[in-house]
């Protein structure tokens, strides 16, 4: 009975792994069929107050993406981090976390990570490498002033890094430092960055900007955006968002008006908008909708905002600045600050300069720290071959990836959960990065490499000591207290970056590539970003917002374009421009700009990362140049086809409209018409009496579809909390997705709008699944949960057939069978790991509920609904999900539930779900009728 499949965990965590073995060992023990296998108890040799077996501990740290930090709180069990959560005290998180942050804990345990240093193909100790990097040793190669030494670093905002890089330059004055990431492009070295205050913007125009789900600081923006559209009462004020974009983004789905335009039209739109804003209602050739937006912007002088995506060239973003000046936004809802990234005390250069130097054979020693330039650069640059030509090249990275393959020597880099450091948020707030575990492999952190290069260490320096030293240097007053305080709060007292004037760039007046048939637009992937997270199963299997695509990328096109090209989902199309070409499957997305193909970066990896290898197509192969957002392209149909791993195969509601939608005006006009259409359905059985405060807590959830932006954070948060397995592309194609939370997406028939509906077990009071289960493996608890008892389930799957929401998932195979020892470590010890052949589904995080009850019981008090947060609720950037008890009328959950726009999914079936949705209200501008 497969009892031994995962019964051999590492000794140290034995007691937790017994729980892992859960379902399967269980089989042997069930109903006393056979005796329990002999087990050992391994106590600690020495008692550790901070390490009580069975109690999770929480530490504050921070994770950086493209150098911008997000403050996190990490849950740890017996010394192994298992769950990431947002840090409420951190400005970039406000308690929320995005898919990438949430999934980063899985990356820590990734068995494909680089495990030891090597020179050539010979495995060596880091100290061996360090010996050759000492200034003395190095000068013999790179010259007395180090002119041959070149460092390519991934963007970092670490003050420690900046200090140490400065000291490297003291040792090698002529050495050069370059900073590059594909998504920041040359922006990485910009002196100033643009900040936004969404909280005080009543009217927002986002132009080619996915500021709610992929831009830096997006978690904060999303929270601020949602807070201004909660609509506790129909009469409440609500902000308004216009989105102008080519690719349907999460931000686009949150928009009140969305306009799909071709990339090259962005400039035109901006210029029209600028003229309309300046000339007021004076006659302009601008279309009506732009004029209307302009009026709306001017009507909210100082409380409106135009956001132009970072990916747009400076000359075009300057148009946005001009508009913001005209509507009084500059200085109020948007301003510039100095960049939080390094480069203020050390000169950092652009990638182009490095390529030039390599071309000119000026580079003797190239050390790449983080990033993956051999992969994540325009293939046309030929970085890979140039790097191979460098006499002495080294790479410090997480994986033996494409870059490692081009480097003479490789040193594994510590994951951020394994190392000490510091980092700035987008606004400059400083956080301490503290490790949760010692490095799993023989890895080092960048500061240790820098110290070695600077000669202040012979490779032995630990980043903790370096950090403490730097901390004491820069902290005035009691460094110790400040330190412990910083560790506890996760943020330091350091002031954010100071405001500076907007960079002076002349607005673009040119219209790129006129009159081309097709354009391609290059985008950061909402899940795996630039490819750095491509080996993360949780992210690969997360259905992409709107497309619902998992395990790969596709050429996104509009229905009209699909018709014109005569292709449908999965047909391989070929994008080509000159020598560059890319073949990938097409995917039709309603609401996409016509004659435009969207391609996401990060796929088609060829490194040693087994999960990422050969998944999707490599957009960098087609990318013309660093910073290019779009270009003219020829698109041809190859005739080949490939099945896409789509988590949802229907695009619209098929006339059933599962999501209630209305405009704000309609809602205000008649609130009752928006919410529940039928009241409690008549039943032959006596009415269950509504729960009151005397009964046990009655758990329930309310989800606001007005503020849900479909980012998928809830899905990953749930996957992490509940030990949900990764099943791979083919199983997703077979329709066997295991995620308990699925953000379902319904396009309006004209594609103008897309509604998101997070679908999880609805915990019906009259649950259809319960009465059909022959063994009572799914039953109702006294506190209103629809319980799923894995160890009782025999797997008839009748429950799933009878579940109208299809939120039950079946273990078709033993999906945990082939997990590596390290991958087992990420499992939550408080949740059973499900065995082959049993059903599973959302439990409302019952393990958290029961633990809260037990804690309350120990303190001799009654548990409160507010004691428990579900994983999805915790992750949600927009607070769209609230959880609580029906017995507490004053709770936020109940206040939302009692709104007139609340409704139950498929209410007509009389299942009486405990999950209620709030109708999707859009603050439409009455002057605009043609959302495109």
């Amino acid at each position: 009975m497969h009892a031994h499949d995962h019964d051999h965990p590492p000794e140290l965590n034995r007691r937790d792994f017994l729980r892992l073995a859960g379902a399967s060992v269980a089989l042997a023990g069930l109903d006393g069929c056979s005796r329990m296998p002999a087990e050992h108890i391994l106590p600690y040799v020495d008692s550790r107050p901070e390490l009580t077996p069975g109690i999770g501990s929480y530490y504050a740290t921070a994770m950086s993406v493209d150098g911008y930090a997000t403050g996190l709180i990490v849950e740890s069990h017996e010394g192994r981090p298992t769950k990431i959560e947002g840090n409420p005290a951190h400005p970039a998180s406000l308690g929320a976390a995005g898919p990438i942050e949430l999934a980063s804990v899985l990356q820590l345990y990734d068995p494909d990570r680089g495990k030891s240093a090597r020179v050539g193909s010979e495995q060596v100790q880091w100290e061996r490498v360090a010996a050759n990097l000492a200034p003395a040793a190095l000068r013999s190669r790179v010259g007395g002033r180090g002119s041959g030494l070149h460092l390519l670093i991934e963007p970092t905002s670490s003050l420690l890094d900046e200090e140490l890089l400065a000291s490297v330059l003291t040792a090698h004055p002529d050495a050069r430092i370059y900073m590059y990431s594909p998504m920041l492009g040359d922006g990485a070295t910009d002196a100033a960055v643009q900040q936004y205050d969404i909280a005080n913007a009543d009217v927002i125009v986002a132009i080619d900007s996915d500021f709610l789900s992929t831009a830096p600081f997006h978690l904060r923006y999303a929270r601020q955006f949602a807070d201004n559209r909660r609509l506790a009462r129909p009469t409440d004020a609500m902000n308004r968002l216009y989105v102008v974009e080519s690719t349907f983004s999460s931000t686009g789905s949150a928009a009140d008006h969305r306009f799909a335009v071709r990339p090259r039209e962005v400039t035109t739109v901006l210029r029209w908008l600028l003229t309309s804003v300046i000339n007021g209602d004076a006659k302009t050739e601008a279309p009506a909708w732009i004029a209307a937006i302009a009026r709306d912007l001017r009507a909210h002088q100082g409380r409106s905002l135009v956001i132009v995506g970072d990916a747009q060239p400076a000359s075009i973003r300057a148009l946005g600045d001009a508009i913001n000046d005209a509507i009084g936004a500059s200085g109020k809802t948007t301003w510039y600050t100095t960049s939080p990234l390094v480069g203020h005390h050390v000169p950092v250069h652009k990638l182009a300069d490095l390529v030039g130097a390599m071309d000119a054979r000026e580079v003797d020693t190239l050390i790449v720290i983080g990033g993956n330039p051999s992969y994540a650069t325009p293939r046309a640059l030929g970085f890979s071959s140039l790097m191979r030509a460098v006499p002495n090249s080294g790479y410090l990275g997480l994986y033996e990836n494409e870059t490692a393959r081009d480097a003479r020597w490789f040193v594994p880099m510590s994951h951020y959960l394994e190392r000490w450091g510091d980092a700035r948020a987008y606004d400059g707030t400083v956080s301490i990065v503290q490790p949760l575990v010692n490095p799993l492999y023989r890895s080092i952190a960048p500061p240790e490499l820098y110290a070695t290069l600077a000669g202040t260490s012979n490779g032995g320096a630990r980043s903790y000591d370096l950090l403490r030293a730097s901390w004491t240097r820069r902290t005035s007053g009691d460094a110790e207290t400040a330190w412990s305080d910083a560790l506890q709060r996760g943020v330091t007292a350091d002031a954010p970056m100071s405001r500076v004037a907007a960079p002076t760039t002349f607005p673009s007046d040119t219209n790129p590539f006129e009159g081309t048939a097709f354009e391609v637009i290059y985008l950061a992937d909402p899940k795996i970003h630039d490819g750095s997270f491509a080996n993360n199963g949780w992210l690969q299997e997360l259905p992409a917002p709107l497309t619902q695509l998992t395990w790969g990328n596709a050429g996104l096109i509009s229905p009209a374009t699909a018709h014109r090209l005569n292709v449908s989902d999965g047909d391989i199309i070929k994008l080509s421009s000159g020598q560059r070409a890319l073949e990938l499957p097409a995917l039709v997305v309603p609401g996409h700009a016509d004659d435009t193909v969207s391609v996401h970066f990060g796929y088609g990896r060829t490194g040693s990362e087994s999960a990422a290898r050969d998944v999707g197509a490599d957009a960098y192969a087609l990318w013309p140049a660093v910073g290019a957002r779009s270009e003219a392209i020829t698109v041809t149909r190859t005739g080949a086809a490939q099945a896409l791993a789509l988590a949802q195969t229907q695009s619209t509601g098929a006339g059933r409209d599962p999501v209630h939608r209305a405009t704000l005006d309609a809602y205000r006009a008649s609130p009752s018409s928006v919410g529940q259409r039928s009241g409690r359905v008549l039943s032959l059985y006596p009415e269950a009496k509504p729960p009151d405060s005397n009964t046990a807590l009655q758990w329930a959830m309310t989800i606001d579809l007005t503020t849900c932006i479909g980012c998928g954070a809830c899905v990953v948060g749930c996957q992490s909390e509940n030990n949900i397995p990764v099943i791979g592309a083919s199983e997703v194609r077979n329709g066997r997705s295991m995620q308990w939370m699925h953000v379902e997406r319904y396009f309006a028939d004209n594609g103008a709008d897309a509604a998101m509906q997070p679908m999880l077990c609805q915990h019906c009071e009259n649950a259809p699944c319960e009465y059909v289960c022959p063994v009572g493996a799914t039953v109702h608890s006294s506190d209103g949960l629809n319980e799923m008892v894995y160890n009782r389930c025999v797997g008839t799957r009748f429950c799933s057939n009878n579940c109208p929401y299809k939120v039950r998932h079946f273990n078709w195979f033993d999906y945990n069978k082939h997990l590596s020892e390290t991958e087992l470590m990420v499992k939550n010890p408080n949740v059973t790991v499900r065995e082959r052949g049993v059903m599973e589904k959302c439990t409302f995080c019952v393990q958290r509920i029961r633990e809260a009850e037990i804690a309350a019981g120990r303190d001799g008090r009654a548990p409160r609904g507010t004691d428990v947060q579900t994983a999805c609720q915790q992750a949600c950037p927009t607070n769209a999900i609230v959880f609580g008890s029906l017995t507490e009328p004053s709770s936020e959950m109940m206040r939302r539930r009692n709104q007139p726009r609340s409704f139950a999914a498929l209410a007509e079936l009389g299942t009486e779900p405990r999950v209620r949705y709030l109708a999707r209200i859009r603050n439409a501008n009455p002057e605009i009728h043609d959302s495109r």
């Binding site: 009975m1 089989l27 069930l30 109903d31 006393g32 949802q648 195969t649 229907q650 619209t652 509601g653 098929a654 006339g655 059933r656 599962p658 199983e731 077979n734 329709g735 066997r736 997705s737 699925h742 379902e744 997406r745 319904y746 509906q757 679908m759 259809p768 009465y771 059909v772 289960c773 022959p774 063994v775 009572g776 009782r792 389930c793 025999v794 797997g795 008839t796 799957r797 009748f798 799933s800 057939n801 009878n802 109208p804 929401y805 299809k806 039950r808 998932h809 079946f810 273990n811 078709w812 195979f813 033993d814 065995e835 082959r836 052949g837 049993v838 059903m839 999914a905 498929l906 079936l909």
Partner: protein, 476 residues
């Protein structure tokens, strides 16, 4: 038991007096001695021809495929099938319902018709009963194989467990198990009880001492005393009375596996009668498919007469009409409810949706084809009967597939819709089970008197007493 007294001619057991109702001469046109009849009916026990061996080899291969597919499923998990969410049930349950349905004809013919004094059943009931048992053996396998954790199947049976919990009696599945096992037990008893006298006949008729011993053991010492015959008769009637309600109850319970769900396409009050009719329908088709070759191979035209074929065809036509009625009512009710999902499933998805082709094949096989039986020529033409019953069996399998899969793959929330595609294991199990069925049936034909000799003889004597005049049922 001691020796068999020599004064009685071998294989010539005394026969008790007839039923009250006089039979119809057209059901038996055998003109030879009882001895000759015995010889002909027992002939296969002495060995069979090359055709049997060929068929046996084929069915044995099928059985091997079946065994392998089962092993594969249990070893790898249900994931080896094409099932998914939403389509959590598919081939296996289709096969289960199909086989159970086929089983029904046996009991219907032997028990139901026995109580109704339909004499013509005498010459085909043994085959029908055997078919029932083999079909049930197949059917019983699928629900267990279909479990995610088959090794815990016994949790569906109510017994005092140390866990202190019981099965959920609200669910149809525990009742399913009860129904099927009861049905199997009763059918087995009924079949065997009827078989005993013929086994005795075989015992006395065969030459090889070993063979006689073996048959002797299974004959349970039957000596054919008049007392024995009287008690045997009583026992048979009692068992028949026991079995008859099962004809109705078992498939009604099976239909509840679907009807208690709220799924559009399942949630329907017409299911129990609809399923029972469908079951008997497919059962008759299978009986025809089995007896016609036998009749030809063993020259049984005088025992299985055109009268039988005619009667069977008429019953088949009747069932077809009742089934058609059910189809119409289902769709009408769906339209009448104004319920969007209901209308979608019945009025769009089935006739025009993903699996529309299968739907129209089903309609052709189950509704159109049997209409040929309005003409007597077709009712008695072996070719037509074979073709029609083959079509009906296919149609009935498709009917269950469509009920299950089309309802599931597009139910309430469009976001959860997903197509279903079977894998080789699914087909392995379907065709394998057919092979297994054939395997068992061929063995039965070879080693067991597949025509109820004693009953046929009894019938003969009744006819004799009636001077062979044709009375009773009006001749069609």
């Amino acid at each position: 038991m001691t020796t068999v007294p020599l004064r009685r001619a071998r294989g010539d057991n005394p026969v008790p007096t007839a039923f009250p109702a006089p039979p119809d001469a057209s059901v038996l046109r055998f003109d030879g001695s009882d001895r000759a009849l015995t010889d002909q009916l027992l002939a296969p026990l002495r060995g069979t021809g090359v055709v049997w061996w060929v068929l046996f080899a084929v069915s044995a291969a099928g059985t091997a495929v079946f065994a392998f597919s089962c092993w594969w499923t249990v070893a790898k998990g249900i994931g080896a099938w094409g099932n998914n969410i939403p389509v959590a049930w598919a081939f296996a349950i289709t096969n289960f319902v199909w086989w159970i349905g086929i089983g029904h004809a046996g009991t219907f013919i032997s028990a139901f018709l026995l109580l109704l004094n339909q004499h013509w059943r005498a010459s085909i009931n043994r085959v029908a009963e055997a078919m029932t048992i083999f079909a049930l053996m197949n059917a019983g396998l699928f629900p267990i194989l279909h479990l995610g954790r088959p090794w815990f199947f016994y949790w569906l049976i109510p017994y005092p467990a140390t866990m202190g919990v019981w099965p959920n009696f609200k669910s149809a599945l525990p009742w399913d198990i009860a129904a099927v096992t009861t049905y199997l037990t009763v059918s087995l008893l009924f079949w065997y009880a009827g078989l005993v006298p013929d086994l005795a006949t075989a015992r006395d008729w065969l030459d090889s001492r070993l063979a006689r011993r073996i048959y002797g053991i299974f004959a349970l010492g039957w000596r054919g005393t008049s007392t024995a015959w009287r008690q045997h008769r009583v026992a048979m009637v009692l068992l028949a009375a026991l079995a008859t309600p099962l004809v109705v109850s078992v498939h009604s319970v099976v239909s509840l596996d679907f009807a208690i769900a709220q799924l559009p396409g399942w949630h329907s009050t017409i299911f129990p009668p609809y399923f029972v009719v469908g079951a008997i329908y497919s059962g008759f088709a299978m009986v025809l498919l089995l007896i016609l070759p036998l009749r030809h191979a063993y020259r049984l035209e005088q025992v299985i007469t055109e009268r039988h074929l005619d009667a069977m065809a008429k019953l088949t036509l009747t069932m077809a009409l009742m089934l058609t009625y059910a189809y119409v009512v289902e769709s009408f009710v769906a339209w009448y409810t104004h319920d969007i999902p209901e209308r979608f499933t019945y009025l769009f998805e089935r006739p025009f949706g993903t699996y529309a082709v299968l739907f129209w094949i089903m309609i052709t096989c189950n509704v159109v084809v049997p209409q040929v039986f309005w003409w007597k020529r077709n009712r008695t033409s072996v070719g037509v009967l074979l073709a029609a019953s083959g079509a009906i069996l296919v149609g009935m399998w498709l009917e269950r597939f469509i009920i299950i899969v089309t309802s599931l793959h597009r139910d309430f929330l469009p976001a959860s819709w997903h197509i279903y595609r079977p894998t080789w294991v699914d087909f392995g199990l379907l065709f394998g089970s057919v092979g297994f069925f054939g395997f068992l049936f061929l063995l039965f034909v070879r080693f067991v008197p597949f025509i109820a000799i004693s009953e046929v003889k009894r019938l003969r004597h009744d006819l004799g007493e009636n001077g062979g005049r044709e009375i009773g049922l009006p001749h069609a």
